[in-house]
Symmetry: C2
Subunit: 220 residues, 2 copies
């Protein structure tokens, strides 16, 4: 490989893995084991290999550090400041991953990395520019909230409107009116009633919905 050294770049793929757990939006962070910033938290990341796409690298990274594979991911942003890291020049490519808590528990494999799910508004000290990258990813989530393909990934299967409302509220960071929310979502015409209901321990059972298949495919 005889390429001009001036054009050799390293790219790290930084993954922002989100879930909704106990009615809160959470993100998965791991601890940094080396100096500087030893003990600080970071986004699971890997250098991009020449043999893989950003998406492949992101999925491999999530499998390696979070212990879960094949989740939904989205390209997010690129961070190219020359001094974003103290020593090396590495481009940062931020990717969002979404997983529901139930699927996570079912399919999580043991990893040597002791990651923790942090509530999105209780983010600990993070290394380098990771806090900034995470904040940007949370904004991305907000501005793409109506993507059914993305929303779907917060649930293991069918879901209720109160559950969906919690996803909206957590990502938007504000409470929504239940009646107006139902009207708005159902009017979109992207959900269908499964005719099933939850059997909760308490309270009235809720109707279960799913995204219409035809609506999921086509979204920009």
């Amino acid at each position: 490989m005889d390429i001009d050294r001036r054009y050799i770049n390293q790219i790290e793929v930084l993954t922002n893995v989100f879930t909704i757990d106990k009615n809160s939006l959470k993100v998965y962070l791991i601890r940094r084991l080396e100096e500087p910033f030893k003990g600080y938290w970071m986004l699971p990341s890997n250098l991009l290999m020449t043999s893989e796409t950003i998406e492949e690298c992101a999925l491999a990274t999530i499998e390696e550090y979070v212990g879960i594979k094949g989740i939904h991911i989205e390209q997010c942003n690129v961070f190219s400041k020359v001094d974003r890291l103290p020593n090396d020049r590495i481009l940062g490519n931020s990717v969002i991953g979404i997983i529901d808590e139930e699927t996570l528990l079912m399919h999580k494999k043991k990893t040597p990395y002791e990651g923790v799910w942090f509530n999105i508004d209780e983010i600990p000290k993070m290394i380098f520019d990771h806090a900034n990258i995470l904040k940007d990813a949370a904004n991305h989530l907000k501005s793409h909230l109506n993507n059914p393909l993305m929303l779907k990934m917060f649930f293991p299967s069918d879901f209720t409107l109160p559950e969906l409302q919690i996803v909206y509220e957590q990502i938007l960071g504000k409470k929504l009116d239940r009646r107006n929310f139902r009207k708005r979502i159902l009017n979109l015409g992207i959900l269908e009633d499964t005719n099933y209901k939850t059997n909760n321990k308490m309270g009235r059972p809720a109707k279960l919905y799913r995204f219409k298949e035809s609506e999921i495919e086509y979204y920009e």
Copy 2:
């Protein structure tokens, strides 16, 4: 630089430079001089150097190929398919640049590249995945149309509402009602009347507006 060769990547910055000229949205393309795809058209591009940011590379590329410097640019998208180019594995980072025709004519320097402004709906045969990248950039333009910082760049200085309407119509690809457009834009509260008017050769002079400074800075 003794880095693992598996993590050595090359990144090209592909610039989508837009302008509005004669009431049409145009993009600047140059010709490819080598095989394969000799004679086909391409987005002005350069490999990213380790010493520069994506933005710096994009600006340098636009200066080199288009002959204009210091224009407004925006990060767009990353294309990382391993086989997007036939021989090398090079990541594509797409960037949007915007320039108004008048500033272009004033400040354009001679370049050895004979670029042409193509109407957005009359794009010629393009190399590799460039047509796809350009289409994606045009979509980006559409979805960020309300960014005052971006809109501002279509004009050399103050502008009239009919002129702004043409920008909207061209980017959206559809006609808008004049009265509703005025109402909507003025209601945003981001424009201020300069109290000046155009002196056109024909017809009634139009009021000149500008973006309020305070509104330009803060936009996500």
